[in-house]
Amino acid sequence: MTTFAPRPTGQMAVDPKHQPWVEKYRPKTIDDVSSQEHTVAVLRKALASTNLPHMLFYGPPGTGKTSTILALARQLYGPDLFRARVLELNASDERGISVVREKIKTFARETPRHVGKSSDGKTYPSPPYKLIILDEADSMTQDAQSALRRIMETYSRITRFCLVCNYVTRIIEPLASRCSKFRFRPLAQTSTQARIEMIANNEGVQAEDGVLPLILELAGGDLRKAITYLQTAQRLHGATEPPTPITALSIHEISGVVPDDLITHLLSVMGVDKDQGIDLTLGQGGFEGVRTAVKRVGREGWSAGQVLEQIHDALIPLPTIPALPKSLAAMAIAECDKGLCEGGDEELQLLECCLRIKDAMGKQ
């Protein structure tokens, strides 16, 4: 049988150079997890006593929920047992009620086998229960979630569940009350900066001054986003001959952020100066001025959602705008956002919103 080439074995086949950095730098142990001190402290206790409750992790994307539970599972079971003891399901797998009834239930009711020594010589706690990780649990249907309820209780002696989700409100109450909840906060800039710098050093990234803080600022507490930005920028700049340092401009372009002058222009047709507050003389262009500005946004291909977000960030914190116009503007922005989420036409929604803000600015 020498004619058969040896089959490349799973993970080994990945060229580490082409691996996404997000995967490459996933924390190996829970102590590596950035800036979730409270959660990590609780989990470390649980790890020491090898007694785990059912868990519900929730928080915005990129705050380390999946990383934490994977690292925890790895520390509990070690590499050998990981496959046999941990079942990871996410939204890309079929997760209707039938899967809950068959796959999850079958896995949950199996009694875990006794284990010998681990192959890498270390000792792992290997507690006598299995772990089922339901990633992106908020996209499970209500029915599937209710089917889980009894399963969680019946097999709680030999199986622990960990639900991971963005919106805790989408998890039905009976499930949530069976779990101990862990909230993951958006990451603080100081703690993520160390991590990003470490990755940049490891990968030999050259960046201009101020680029790394800019990445963190644009990522808004989402570490995965920050790492992806860094890697994409490195791809763009590392591919040229010779490699050039990463510039702030390319980070702006990658993140899809609308340039400031466009936002300033939009604000000025609405009668707002970016620094001074309301200045109605700027809004002389009237209806046509607003319409041309909005058309320009569409023609240059910016996404209305992003534009809206940046208008909000520029307009609402301005201290010189009186309360009434500001509240009216905030309301217009909120309603426009809802409209966009529900699939409204981008140009119409944005135009309507801008007109309403313009109108609001005139009311004093």
């Binding site: 995967e23 209305a304 699939g343 409204g344 036409d345 119409l348």
Partner: protein
């Protein structure tokens, strides 16, 4: 004989006429061997698909242009059969999952897993991965987009995704954070002129500037439309002399007629007439959103400045309701009735109440 749009579509990154810095970035990405998932977005007719095909050619060589069209059958969990047309070459596969409406998740899951689990067999292929192009990615349901999330990371070895969308607003954040966002802005007027002149030169005739101007004003940054209009004009009057009217599509003239008749008279009888006309448009497959937008734009041009924001407000309001409801005509009618009320009220007492 093919249309000019297809005949003069650039085939490689070097032939592209505008956004040179974007082309060079795409080229260096294709050469680096570390190709990310990409999300192309921009208005229609800006050249997204052209750029995607050029990038693929840069990745795999001319082999990608040998296309074949297959019909694939997918089975939903509820045992319904779905037929989906896919265009594919040896190196890539292109699909429009939003064609199957709410079942797009099944198509995404099946096809991606299939591609992801098969390795490239062609030893001469330049890249180890295949590319999956998903058109109209902003029309994917949330479920389908959620199904993409983990797959994108897990099968990065064998597969790269290229998503093509008009806007990123409707793409969920987790997908956006996993892709390289590439914005393709519509060409500026100068750039459009250059392209038109290039085509004229290839077809061996000269292009008078008034013609260019009228093409530019109708196409509004949509290069595909510009070229189509251009060819139609050339067909109509081969010497392109004198003042040629750019032929407006029938439905557009019809819409402005509707707008005019709304402004002329506001009565129940008129509403009934307009309703008949709108039915006529809808039965000719003009998308209701387009009808509403065209009518409202025309009305806005004709009314008093103080009234314009109101018209836009109601247009946005009823357009949204139309998307959420199922019977389009109700909302179109409601919009027209509302506009009539607002207009009449304004004319009689000189002002209108606030938005509610």
């Amino acid at each position: 004989m093919s249309l000019w749009v297809d005949k003069y579509r650039p085939r490689s990154l070097d032939e592209l006429h505008y956004h040179p810095e974007l082309s060079s970035r795409l080229r260096s990405l294709a050469a680096s061997g570390d190709f990310p998932h990409i999300l192309f977005y921009g208005p229609s007719g800006a050249g997204k698909k052209t750029r995607i095909m050029c990038t693929l050619r840069e990745l795999y060589g001319p082999g990608v242009e040998k296309l074949r069209i297959d019909q694939r059958v997918f089975v939903t969990p509820s045992n319904r059969k779905l037929d989906v047309n896919v265009v594919q070459s040896n190196y890539h596969i292109e699909l429009t999952p939003s064609d199957v409406g709410m079942y797009d998740r099944v198509v995404i899951q099946d096809i991606l897993k299939e591609i992801a689990q098969t390795q490239q067999v062609d030893l001469n292929a330049k890249q180890r991965f295949k590319v999956v192009i998903i058109n109209e990615a902003d029309a994917l349901t949330r479920d389908a987009q959620a199904a993409l999330r983990r797959t994108m990371e897990k099968y990065m070895n064998n597969m790269r995704l290229i998503l093509c969308a008009n806007s990123t607003s409707k793409i969920i954040a987790p997908i956006r954070s996993r892709c390289l966002l590439v914005r393709v802005a519509a060409p500026s007027d100068d750039e459009m002129t250059k392209v038109l002149q290039h085509v004229a030169k290839k077809e061996r005739f000269s292009l008078p500037s008034p013609v260019t101007k009228s093409i530019l004003s109708t196409s509004q940054g949509n290069l595909r439309k510009a070229l189509l209009v251009f060819e139609a004009m050339k067909m109509q009057k081969p010497d392109l002399s004198g003042d040629i009217e750019v032929a407006k599509p029938d439905w557009e003239t019809y819409c402005s007629k509707i707008a005019d008749s709304i402004i002329q008279e506001q009565s129940a009888q008129r509403l009934l007439d307009v309703r008949g006309k709108i039915y006529e448009l809808l039965s000719h497959c003009i998308p209701p959103t387009v009808v509403l937008k065209t009518i409202s734009e025309r009305i806005v041009d004709k009314v008093d400045d103080a009234l314009k924001p109101q018209i836009v407000h109601w247009a946005a309001y009823y357009e949204l309701r139309m998307r959420m409801g199922s019977k389009k005509i109700f909302h179109l009618e409601a919009f027209i009735a509302k506009v009539m009320t607002v207009y009449k009220q304004f004319n009689m007492i000189g002002y209108t109440e606030d938005y509610e």
